[in-house]
Amino acid sequence: MSVSREVVERLAEMTRIGLAHAEAEALGRDIEAILAHVSALQEIDTAAVEGAPGAGSDAPLREDVVAASLPVADVLANAPQQADGFFVVPAVFGE
């Protein structure tokens, strides 16, 4: 179980966390230690566990009735940037 800097950087890109190289290496070591610890799981016999997860439970259902939405001012109250009722971000396809 080796977690290389490349793997850490790939995980970071997947989860959109910018990482400096040095940080990636330190995190790689930590993650490796954690994974080494949890690898104990592999030795546990789980053959006796069967059935789909959640079988037997039944999610409650909501009636299809329209309820009030938030006032637009509240929706945008915490927005870092807004214009004409929209949230604004730099271009998705920019650069």
């Binding site: 259902l61 329209v66 637009v72 971000v89």
Partner: protein, 491 residues
């Protein structure tokens, strides 16, 4: 199929993933109004569909029911336990950073849809039917000279059905037929408006070219929202791949977009792990249990689907395949047909079909409204056909009555009475008029007698003109013949 690929012996292998917004009042997991079209940006939004910290989803019963209807109509197996999963991918219009979807345990599996056409039915296998939430919308704009994206979450959380076909379609035209067939089923079930311009129905298509036993690399084209786009994108892509292969090149497995303006597919560069959605069971929602009895109940109460209806119209109502096709295009038209027919004496199906396909479609088209917005009811149409059948009104008058009915919704006999449109079928009254006309047109009468009755047309025309078109033409002919018969003139 396009020429290039066929010539080279490539066989297109096509599958479709169709996304359909369900017709619920509220969103998938919150009470916000799901009908967002035309609403102010971010005005149909709450903590749940905005993904505020701490907000939790609750499943909309109607969305579940509608999905079960579709799964059942598409002959899917509905497992007793199904579940929502999180599909994780970052994007500004995904407010939680994940979409609640179904992955490992969808609501429907292993179904099929039969598509009818000239050569008989084509069966398209359905791999799965699952329920998820729609994303928000990102629009591109410029603010203070910089390119920006504007995000509106009104669409976020609208219930979305995903229907995934087997890759068992082999031509762009068959793909279009399948998409259209699916649309028809969804509209019939009343779970989707079918309004493609509004983006309520979108398809992702995947296509590869196989030669012999060798499968080709799969290319996915995302977000096609018209039948034409599906056909054109597939045609383009098949040609592109065939040309590549013929030139000795290789097709890259990738996702491409459809450029509507240029009419071409464009590579959307993405890293392979961008597709790693890290699915796992949605911990905020317990699993769903759907009993086999519930599925059976839904199956029993499904409305008749268009394919079955068409077959019935041809087989037992005696319509032509074309007539059956036209009438079943819109479930409201088909219902009008069925209900009107049930109020008619037997054998009236042709007449009902003619009125629906002729006058009704013409008026709907002119007014540019759906049937629901007109005032034509089964009772109304049936009443009109009765007046026509018993000779109370002429065909020409019936059209006038029908137009009035379309506008006002009044009953046919009421319109006839109010507007004095009833046909003059009273023999005595009409005989007086005919006598007067004959007396005033001696030359025509002479001509009629000399030519042995061959010139009755002009005389009938005169009578009709004298009655303002209200005379029963057949009766007028009868009267002229009997008044100008040798026995009568001899007297």
């Amino acid at each position: 199929m396009t020429g290039g690929s066929q010539g080279a012996g490539y066989r297109p292998v096509i599958g479709l993933e169709v996304h359909a917004q369900l017709l619920t009042h509220s969103k998938m997991f919150c009470g916000c109004d799901a009908r967002y079209s035309g609403a102010r940006p971010n005005s149909h939004v709450c903590p749940v569909c905005l993904g505020l910290p701490g907000a939790l989803p609750v499943i909309n019963r109607a969305a579940l029911e509608q999905t079960l209807m579709v799964a059942t109509a598409l002959n899917c197996r509905v497992p007793e336990t199904s579940r929502f999963d999180r599909k994780n991918y970052p994007y500004p219009d995904i407010p939680k950073g994940y979409q609640i979807s179904q992955y490992a345990a969808p609501l429907g599996r292993a179904g099929h849809l039969d598509i009818f056409h000239a050569d008989g039915p084509d069966r398209v296998g359905i791999i799965r039917v699952h329920l998820e939430e729609d994303t928000g919308k990102t629009m591109h704009s410029v603010l203070d000279g910089r390119p920006v994206s504007l995000v509106d979450y009104n669409r976020s959380g609208v219930p979305l059905l995903e229907i995934v076909s087997e890759p068992c379609i082999h031509s762009p035209d068959a793909a279009r037929r399948y998409f259209a067939g699916l649309r028809e089923v969804l509209v019939y079930l009343g779970v989707n408006s079918g309004d493609m311009e509004e983006g309520v129905l979108r398809a992702d298509v995947n296509v590869s070219l196989s030669r012999g036993a060798h499968p080709g690399a799969k290319v996915e084209i995302k977000n096609l929202n018209s039948f034409r786009a599906v056909t054109r994108a597939l045609e383009f892509e098949i040609d592109r791949q065939a040309a590549l292969l013929e030139a000795g090149g290789q097709v890259a497995q990738e996702t491409r977009g459809w450029d509507e303006g240029q009419e071409e597919t464009v590579s959307q560069r993405s890293k392979e792990y961008a597709e790693d959605y890290r699915y796992f069971p949605e911990p905020d929602l317990p699993a769903l249990t759907v009993s086999p009895e519930r599925v059976e109940e839904i199956r029993r109460t499904l409305p008749e689907l268009p394919a079955a209806r068409r077959a019935r119209y041809v087989d037992s109502a005696g319509l032509s395949p074309y007539e059956a096709e036209v009438i079943t295009q819109d479930p409201a038209l088909a219902s009008l047909f069925d209900e009107t027919l049930s109020l008619q004496p037997p054998g009236g199906s042709k007449a009902v079909a003619n009125w629906i396909m002729g006058e009704l479609l013409r008026l709907l088209h002119e007014a540019a409204v759906p049937l629901e917005a007109s005032n034509i009811s089964p009772r109304g149409l049936s009443g009109l056909l009765r007046l026509l059948g018993d000779g109370t009104i002429t065909n020409a008058q019936a059209k006038i009555v029908f137009a009035r009915m379309f506008e006002t919704g009044a009953e046919a006999d009421e319109i006839v009475r109010r507007e004095g449109l009833a046909q003059i079928a009273d023999t005595d009254e009409l005989a007086a008029t005919v006598r007067r006309v004959l007396a005033e047109n001696e030359a025509l009468v002479r001509d009629y007698v000399e030519k042995g009755g061959k010139t009755e047309g002009p005389l009938i025309g005169k009578v009709m003109a004298a009655t303002g078109g209200r005379a029963n033409a057949a009766l007028v002919r009868e009267l002229i013949r009997s008044l100008l018969s040798p026995e009568a003139t001899a007297q």
